[in-house]
């Protein structure tokens, strides 16, 4: 259970997210409300629990961090103000801040375009997935 | 101004609204305006004076007048109305026995400042457009009002009357940025040793004449503990530095949250001790610790030492107060 080697990563994620994982009462409302549930390997409540347990590696290696829609529903509906979305973002940043670990690279964009695609979609994708 | 006041006072006396008038009259010297009670139109016409030496806050005198009964007309400057409200809040005076005429005030002259300028033989004063014209037996002298104005008026917190039945002149506004805590801040910024020296220098001059206490509208106790042998702390005159400190600390504490910062204590101190700096320290602390509070602004407000919040700061937490 102990993950001392991860202590620095846990600390980084907690600090940059500003989330107090100990507030969680394990009700599962975040996961109940999550629109991206089917796309995720680890679900919002698991982010909270696994960060607390120090399992950042597993979360970081999972595609789940790119599946969050940033819709704030889990944050809004959490009865204990835990804000799981902030944790997901913090784990994602933990990954993409590492050099060369951008999830989305500019050269991939042209293939994804269609003529009506709003700029907003590209801007937000870069903001979320790249440094 | 004086004519208008007299005219209105006479009207109110004659139509029976009030049976006497609390105002000012000339004291021993022409610049020494003292509170006085007038009972007739003649009294008023002969004795009533209002000019820029009329600094005394008349509200405290109402305590005695209210005990005597009848209905009293009083003239109050904006700062006096705070004391007035505070006395109402403390049930020391009865609102229904008093008819308040609020009078505008542009700041009162400080006789010591005038004397320091070498103006002697003063017989009167008039103010216009920020200039005092001081009549003396040697002729008129003119000075810029702000050069000769009392310190408390230079940092006036409010030109707005907090209570009145009618106004003579225009009502002003609360002065948001009056800078009245500047000196307190300066003291706070000193080292404790410097502060100790400063206050020793000031308080050691105290001769315990009790003028500050006697003029203070908040110090209106039936019997002051310092005069009461039964209190265990009575002292006629301060024997040493401890007693000097003790008197002024306890006096400040007793008026904490009640002092409206009218500045009378400093005005009347024959030793020119800046006593208001003690009261202002408490006012500043109260604002900083427990939220803005101006005694006398609202007679229904709960005073800061008569209420609490669960999350109040702990004693001895000085963070954020010191500069």
């Amino acid at each position: 259970m102990s993950h001392n080697k991860n202590a620095a990563a846990v600390e980084e994620v907690l600090r940059s997210s500003g989330v107090d994982v100990r507030k969680c009462m394990r009700c599962g409302k975040c996961t109940a409300t999550c629109p991206a549930f089917d796309e995720m390997e680890y679900h919002p409540h698991q982010f909270v629990y696994m960060v607390e347990k120090g399992q950042i590696d597993k979360l970081a290696a999972s595609d789940s961090i790119y599946r969050c829609l940033s819709c704030f529903a889990c944050m809004e509906r959490c009865p204990r103000q835990v804000e799981p979305a902030k944790l997901i973002e913090a784990v994602r940043l933990h990954v993409i801040r590492a050099k060369g670990a951008n999830h989305l690279k500019p050269e991939q964009i042209p293939a994804m375009l269609d003529e009506d695609l709003p700029q907003q979609a590209i801007a937000s994708a870069f903001r979320k997935y790249s440094k | 101004m004086q004519e208008m006041m007299v005219k209105r006072a006479v009207e109110l006396l004659e139509n029976g609204t009030v049976d006497r008038v609390l105002g000012w009259t000339t004291g021993e010297f022409a610049y020494d305006m003292t509170p006085a009670v007038f009972r007739s139109a003649d009294d008023l016409k002969n004795g009533f004076v209002y000019n820029d030496f009329c600094a005394a806050n008349l509200s405290k005198y109402l305590i005695k007048e209210c005990v005597a009964g009848g209905k009293i007309l009083v003239f109050l400057k904006p700062c006096d109305t705070y004391s007035f409200n505070q006395l109402i809040a403390e049930h020391r005076i009865k609102r229904e026995m008093i008819y308040v005429i609020g009078i505008a005030c542009e700041g009162k002259a400080d006789i010591d400042k005038l004397k320091d300028m070498g103006i002697d033989g003063i017989t009167g004063i008039t103010a216009k457009d920020g200039v005092y014209t001081v009549a003396t037996i040697y002729g008129d002298a003119t000075v810029k009002a702000t050069d000769a104005m009392a310190e408390r008026c230079l940092s006036c917190k409010s030109k707005k009357h907090m209570a009145y039945d009618e106004l003579i002149g225009e009502d002003g506004d609360v002065v948001a940025d009056c800078g009245r805590f500047d000196m307190v801040e300066k003291l706070e910024a000193m080292t404790p040793d410097e502060r100790y020296e400063f206050w020793r220098g000031e308080l050691s001059r105290c001769i315990r004449c009790n003028a500050c206490r006697n003029v203070c509208p908040a110090c209106s106790c039936e019997k002051c503990i310092f005069d009461n042998p039964g209190s265990g702390v009575s002292q006629k005159a301060a024997v040493n530095s401890f007693e000097e400190n003790m008197f002024h600390i306890i006096r400040a504490f007793h008026v904490a949250g009640r002092c409206t910062d009218c500045g009378e204590c400093t005005r009347v101190c024959p030793q020119n001790i800046p006593l208001h700096l003690l009261n202002r320290k408490f006012i500043k602390d109260i604002n900083a610790f427990w939220g803005e509070y101006q005694a006398g602004e609202n007679p229904d407000a709960k005073p800061p030492l008569g209420r609490y919040e669960k999350g109040d700061r702990e004693p001895g937490e000085f963070g954020g107060v010191q500069a």
């Binding site: 409540h45 009865p79 204990r80 103000q81 | 049930h91 106790c221 503990i225 008569g306 209420r307």
Partner: protein
């Protein structure tokens, strides 16, 4: 000067080992006023007390100082002993030389020195002690119970059974409270009406109980044993004495479209109504918000049909003043209205209901006559989803919800699930829970029956979204144990909403000067040892107004509160703590500073005549302290700038004398 005796206790070796008791006796014997000083093995023993009594007698002692253990230990012992010898008990002071000296200072010299100083301080204090008499106040032998739910009913019945008069003030037209709306009770599944209504009848028929229904507390004055309460009897436009409760008016009233609050708005009632068949008092009430006669002056149907002439459109609110010795708050609760939780669809979907609403939908006397039909289309629901903890257990910063566990929801939900599965076996029932909390006798067994015998699906998880589409409630939820997100097509969703104290409680607490916590539950005097008393003397707590609780707990607490009230009313006089504040009227400014900090409302003001100069008479406003109410904290003494307010037994002079004695080297 007081003749003082000093008694230094060895406490075996507890004191004597590290304090030279002989030296203490020697030193203190030279203190001013000390006429006798001695030491003894055990001062608290019978022979030690005899020693002290003999010395009081022999040396005509006017004051006693015992240097011994903590006054919290034996102050009462020594005071009692002194009293037996005719010395006022408050002339005895203790110097604590055990806990504060011998037990913590190893060095005999140091310990002895400090013991002498503490002894001197006690002597200095005793010199200023005054004989104090514990005051007495009479007790009005009647209790007031605020709230006529099961808590108030039980408290009132128990007090009345003991032979004391009780008034119940209930703001609704009938007593009965929430329990009257409930269908069955856990864990025995008794019918709530069957066990409640006989009690309501007992209340109605008890000669010692008077019910003020449709009434509210207007003001409370006085103190323990002597409360004066003004009760507002709201105009119900029906003469309670004349009305027979025949109900003809409620059948003839043409205004039929009034939402029936007793049935949670699922059906309607008339503008003149009796809330339910077993209402107590069984008297009609006209709802002024809907009555055509009261609004327009045209109608008068009810008056026409009333055979006894009980209808009175001109009735006004009446204020009744009553006196009481004790007051019980039994103000109860309401379920939180979950309109803020519309992800669960309560505000927008008719078939999302609260648990209390479900009670009415299942109650034989309810709008569906006991057949479970859902509100939107009156059809049988076949899939029902229960959601637990709606608005309970929220973070303190969460503005929508409450931070506490509402305690009863797990059990009533198990009850609902079980009853539905029992009556409608073709119904699938899902319960989404965070934890199932069942501490209580036969409670967990009850919940297990719901799962094991009745096949209720308990799922650890929460519901995230409820959307109504084509008459079906699409429920999206988490199942944490299987790691799935579930999508259930439900016909009915039931929300177990948080319990919240009745909104009227805050105002009542203020009038009673009883403290409340941040959730508006009444605070008890001691969380463990005095759970049915408020910190304010004479105010007692019954039922949910003190914290969430179920019916068995409510009833036990109601009886406990009654026992406390009976204990109080059984006394003819109350003995007061004599160490109370007193105001020196000659010094008092009447400024109200003391009044503002008094937690008990013990200080009142009156205008008194004083002699002024030149034989004049002055009228001054001065404070006086009611010694029966004052608890002796001393807050007022420091608030008073003139020193008019002082505390007996801990006066300014006494404390300063101690300071002087300690500091003088």
């Amino acid at each position: 000067m007081q003749r003082i005796g000093v008694f230094v206790c060895h406490c075996g070796t507890n004191i004597a080992a590290t304090v030279d008791v002989k030296a203490v006796v020697e030193a203190l014997s030279h203190e001013p006023g000390v006429v006798f000083a001695t030491d003894y093995q055990y001062m608290c023993s019978e022979s030690g007390q005899t020693l002290m009594r003999e010395a009081i007698r022999e040396h005509k002692l006017g004051g006693v100082v015992v240097c011994s253990c903590s006054p919290r230990m034996h102050e009462a012992t020594f005071r009692k002993a002194a009293a037996k010898e005719g010395l006022n008990p408050y002339m005895v002071e203790i110097a604590n030389i055990r806990e504060q000296v011998s037990w913590i200072h190893k060095d005999i010299k140091e310990g002895t020195e400090k013991a002498i100083i503490l002894g001197r301080a006690a002597i200095a204090k005793v010199h200023l002690n005054q004989p104090l008499q514990a005051g007495e106040s009479p007790v009005t032998k009647r209790a007031l119970v605020i709230g006529g739910g099961i808590a108030g009913i039980q408290t009132a019945l128990d007090i009345a059974e003991a032979g004391f008069e009780v008034d119940i003030v209930e703001k609704e037209p009938t007593i009965g409270g929430k329990m009257a709306q409930i269908d069955k009770t856990f864990p025995t599944l008794d019918c709530a009406a069957c066990i409640l209504t006989p009690k309501m009848v007992d209340v109605a028929q008890h000669e010692k109980i008077k019910i003020f229904s449709y009434s509210e507390i207007e003001s409370v004055k006085g103190f323990v044993g002597n409360f004066r309460v003004a009760i507002r009897r709201k105009a119900r436009y029906v003469d309670e004495d004349k009305c027979t409760g025949c109900g003809i008016c409620t059948e003839k009233c043409p205004q039929k479209k009034v939402p029936n609050e007793f049935n949670m708005g699922f059906d309607t009632r008339r503008a003149v109504y009796i809330p339910f068949a077993q209402a107590v008092p069984k008297v009609a009430t006209i709802d002024a918000n809907y009555c055509t006669m009261l609004k327009t002056g045209k109608c008068g149907v009810c008056a026409k049909f009333c055979g006894v002439g009980a209808i009175d459109y001109k009735q006004q609110d009446q204020i009744v003043e009553r006196e009481y010795g004790a007051i019980v708050a039994a103000t109860g609760f309401n379920p939180l209205k979950p309109t803020q939780y519309d992800e669960l669809g309560y505000a927008t979907c008719a078939d999302v209901v609260t648990s209390l609403e479900l009670e009415r939908l299942m109650n034989a006397a309810g709008p569906t006559a006991g057949t479970l039909l859902r509100p939107s289309d009156k059809k049988h629901p076949h899939t029902i989803v229960f959601v637990q903890c709606v608005g309970s257990r929220c973070d303190a910063e969460n503005e929508k919800g409450k931070p506490y566990c509402s305690k009863i929801c797990c059990m009533y939900t198990a009850k609902h699930a079980m009853l539905i599965r029992d009556k409608y076996p073709d119904t699938e029932v899902y319960v989404f829970y965070i934890d199932v909390r069942t501490p209580g006798k036969n409670f967990d067994e009850f919940y297990r029956r719901a799962v094991e015998q009745y096949g209720v699906h308990y799922i650890k998880g929460q519901v995230g979204k409820v959307v109504e589409e084509n008459g079906t409630l699409k429920v999206q939820a988490s199942d944490l144990l299987s790691g799935e997100q579930l999508h259930i097509d439900a016909d009915l969703v039931v929300l177990a909403t948080a319990v919240e104290p009745d909104k009227s409680a805050r105002g009542i607490a203020t009038m009673l000067t009883a403290s409340m916590d941040t959730n508006d539950f009444f605070t008890e005097a001691h969380a463990k040892l005095r759970p049915v008393e408020s910190p304010t003397a004479g105010i007692f707590l019954s039922g949910v107004c003190q914290g969430p609780k179920d019916i068995p707990e409510t009833v036990s607490q109601a009886s406990a509160a009654a026992a406390k009230v009976i204990g109080l009313l059984a006394k003819d006089k109350l003995t007061c703590n004599p160490c109370v504040a007193q105001s020196d009227e000659l010094l008092c400014n009447g400024c109200s500073s003391c009044e503002r900090v008094c937690p008990y409302g013990a200080i009142t003001y009156s205008d008194k005549e004083f002699r002024g100069p030149n034989r004049t008479t002055l009228i001054r406003r001065v404070a006086s302290v009611n010694p029966a109410v004052c608890q002796g904290c001393g807050a007022c003494t420091v608030a008073c700038p003139s020193g008019a307010m002082d505390l007996k037994g801990f006066s300014n002079r006494q404390i300063m004398a101690e300071v002087d004695a300690i500091c003088k080297m």
